[in-house]
Amino acid sequence: MFPFGTDALGYDTGMKILEGAKFTLLSVLVIAFLRILFSFVLAIPLAFFVPDRIRRILDQLLSSFYFIPLTIIAVFLLTPVLWEQLRMPGWEEYFIYTFNQRIWLEVFILTILVIPLLGSTIGNILALILKEDFIVGAHILGASKWRIFIKHVIPHLLPKLVIVWCQQCVQLLIIFMHLGYFKLFFGGTDVDYNPLIPDPPVSLSNEWSGLIGDYYNLITVNPSIALGPIIMFGIAIYAFQLIGEGFQHHLQTRHYKRTNRNRVLEKQILGSKTKSSFDFVHKRGA
């Protein structure tokens, strides 16, 4: 009857997972979108107005961010935001921020942490596009920077951003999972400071990272209870990865109709990864 089992309080774990899915997935989509948006805004001046030499130096400096582990920093910064505190006189439990503030702060922190790296990555993609021959041609024909940006850069950039977005979603899911293991749940952790028999920290909204934190220690009782939410995370990650890969595949083969003869051609293209020499991106049907 209960494929994922029931938890200590008798709730059906499968139903809880279903209920929590919307919070986790929506927040992941939104945060990944915000990350891309802000990095993109940051990357535009970086690619258009900053000379190559300075950008390369900036790039190398930013690569120092590779050595700051994201999970540790996220756990460290979010603990005061999400963990319920105890005010000593009167044993009053309280959060420093209200529910909405907590959510916005978490979104903000998770966004801002990757913007330096992501911004420079997108900036480099942009700069590579700007070096293509057709941009030089458009420039010589008298196109303004704005027109080059809208007509020539955006159509090439957007598909790449979709792929980056998928990667960011995967990364965010992993971070949520880690945060869940450290019992920092999206929207706040309800901690019971009862000195006698404290209830375990409870997630306020049943979202998945909360379920991981609640259930991981039950792995000794019945593995399926603990593994349920984790497997859900796995499925979500796999889905995002397939979206990214399928999209990439589509980009490489989109201007060939699927007939038997072309399928052979398609394989050759995928095998050799050579681009066709020239075509208008924004006039393609797909």
């Binding site: 190398q60 400096l61 690569s63 120092s64 961010f65 590779y66 050595f67 700051i68 582990p69 994201l70 999970t71 540790i72 920093i73 756990v75 460290f76 910064l77 603990t79 005061p80 935001v81 420093i96 702060l105 995967v170 899911l173 992993i174 999972m177 880690h178 293991y181 991981i212 991981y216 792995i219 593995p223 603990a226 593994l227 984790i230 497997i231 995370f233 796995g234 990650i237 796999y238 995002f240 990865q241 397939l242 890969e245 095998g271 050799s272 990864k273 050579t274």
Partner: protein, 285 residues
């Protein structure tokens, strides 16, 4: 000379950003900017006088540097071991894979996409359960699933846990890069000259992809340091991040992260120097 200056800049920037980040909880908790700067001053003082820094162990203050060296070395050996094993295995298997026919390669790539999306917690849980299962069925304890205290050291389980996902990442990346490289003309040329495929693969293609792999390995390392924290807590290993998590103050975080970052930074500086020096392609590195 120029490269040394650049690396020094990077190192200083890393340390500064770690210190700046470590003060942030003060800002979040008190919503007061001046307290944030005070905290940063405190952290800086502690970092510069690390030999006098104290931390709390079971409620008692103890000298930080007295206690940290042995868990530090332990954590580093786990990390380095995992990274090295993952890299070598991936490289060997890549060579084997690229000798196989196309359709098997396609299947392997699909499998790798699937493995890549395994969440790390699931991997840890499965390793734990697997060891228990083997013990139940055969009575052979492959390794302890958790260390009992600060004295006991387990190596196999944490290294296996840490290396599985990086191995998959490396493997996939190497196959993709090598396939791209194999479609270039010099490969065709050397094959036409009669060189063996394995020779071209091992000598030329590997050398040409090494730079891309080197840059990719940075992000793998980024991922591994985060995982180290999880592994040390799940398996109750008393390594450096365990100390850090048990006393989660800004000073402690800054000191531990800086200690953890420096060896990898030096290693990468060395590799980068080697690449610049021997390939003479400094601008593109």
């Amino acid at each position: 000379m120029k490269i040394i200056k650049k690396l020094l800049m990077q190192l200083i920037l890393t340390i500064v950003s770690i210190i700046l980040i470590s003060g942030l909880p003060e800002l979040i908790m008190n919503k007061n900017v001046s307290m944030y700067f005070n905290k940063i001053k405190d952290v800086c003082r502690d970092i510069f006088q690390m030999n006098q820094m104290t931390y709390f162990n079971q409620g008692k203050p103890r000298l930080f540097l007295d206690d940290i060296w042995s868990p530090y070395i332990y954590s580093l050996s786990i990390l380095f071991g995992a990274l090295l094993i993952a890299f070598c295995m991936a490289q060997l298997l890549t060579w084997v894979t690229l000798m196989l026919p196309m359709f098997i390669r396609g299947a392997i790539k699909n499998l790798l996409t699937f493995l890549e999306s395994l969440p790390d917690l699931l991997v840890f849980a499965l390793v734990q359960m697997g060891i228990v299962l083997i013990y139940k069925k055969t009575g052979v304890l492959v390794s302890n699933v958790a260390s009992m205290g600060a004295e006991e050291r387990i190596y196999i389980v944490p290294i296996v846990c840490l290396m599985i996902l990086p191995f998959v990442y490396f493997y996939k990346m190497m196959i993709l890069l090598a396939e791209e490289e194999l479609s270039k003309q010099y490969v065709e040329m050397s094959l036409a000259k009669g060189m063996r495929r394995i020779y071209v693969l091992v000598v030329h293609v590997t050398r040409n992809t090494s730079e891309g792999i080197f840059h990719f390995s940075k992000s793998v390392l980024w991922f591994m340091i985060s995982n180290l924290l999880l592994v040390e807590i799940i398996f109750n290993i008393h390594g450096i991040t365990h100390y850090m998590y048990s006393d989660f103050r800004p000073e402690m975080l800054a000191a531990c992260l800086i200690l953890l970052v420096i060896p990898f930074f030096l290693l990468y500086a060395l590799f980068e120097w080697v690449i610049v020096h021997f390939t003479k392609r400094g601008e593109w590195v």
